[in-house]
Amino acid sequence: MASNDFEKLIRYVRLHLGDGNETAGRKEIEKAWVEALKLLLDVPPTDRTFILETLESKDAATLAHLFFDLHFYFVKRSGEWIHDGTL
């Protein structure tokens, strides 16, 4: 797959996050973002030094990997976990 083929890549990531269901994958992306947003609505204190040091000290591939881990972290935190093999 060409790394610059956006349409195929976005379908790929939706299928991955939706366990083979593209519509579910799109919903999962939105779910993760909403879950993250909910935690910040009241603007609680956060460790920005950690965030900035991580962004500056880690390579892009590690950060990309972390990005996927964060997605699943927030999806799991939402309490609505579809990844049980039944989709």
Partner: protein, 166 residues
């Protein structure tokens, strides 16, 4: 400022509607408008401060949090005698192409220094004040950032403030 105040007429027609459509709930609306204070001395004798939402800050200070979905309710002090080379922009909500070539187009620090040196302005406060304009909780903005900047401006004994939205 209300959407239909006389000040609004100076802006691009439809601006408020556009902002409310894209960022619902983000606009501050006040019915109890506080009138602007009158200048008590000639500008040539007044100490001026500058308050900007351009996200300009001294290099080496904690970058404004442009990723936060609600906003960054902090401000930075920018020494009024700083050179543009000592400053940087952390803001993603307006095109910075021009400002990156000449900071003065969005943060006219050198122009203000020149006006003070020429005596057009009586002087400048030791610091100017900068924050980012993406603030999606107007009540929090008013309660925290606006109050803190107002106190900081008063502490530097400003006679007048130049307010510049980005």
């Amino acid at each position: 400022m209300t959407a239909h105040s006389s000040e609004a007429k100076q802006l691009r027609p439809g601006l408020w509607e556009t902002i409310n459509e894209r960022y619902p709930g983000s606009m501050i609306t006040k019915d109890d408008l506080v009138p602007l204070a009158r200048l008590r001395k000639p500008l040539s004798e007044a100490r001026l401060t500058f308050v900007s939402s351009a996200g300009v800050q001294p290099k080496g200070t904690m970058p404004f949090d442009v990723a936060h979905p609600i906003g960054d309710f902090s401000f930075r002090r920018v020494p009024s005698d700083a050179s543009p080379a000592a400053l940087e922009i952390h803001q993603i909500k307006y095109p910075t192409n021009g400002a990156l070539k000449d900071l003065n187009v969005i943060f006219p620090i050198e122009r203000l220094q020149e006006l003070a040196a020429a005596g057009v302005i009586g002087g400048l406060t030791p610091n100017f004040f900068s924050f980012i304009g993406y603030q999606m909780d107007p009540a929090r903005f008013e309660r925290t950032l606006a109050e803190e900047i107002a106190e900081a401006v008063a502490a530097e004994r400003a006679d007048a403030a130049l307010l510049c939205p980005a």
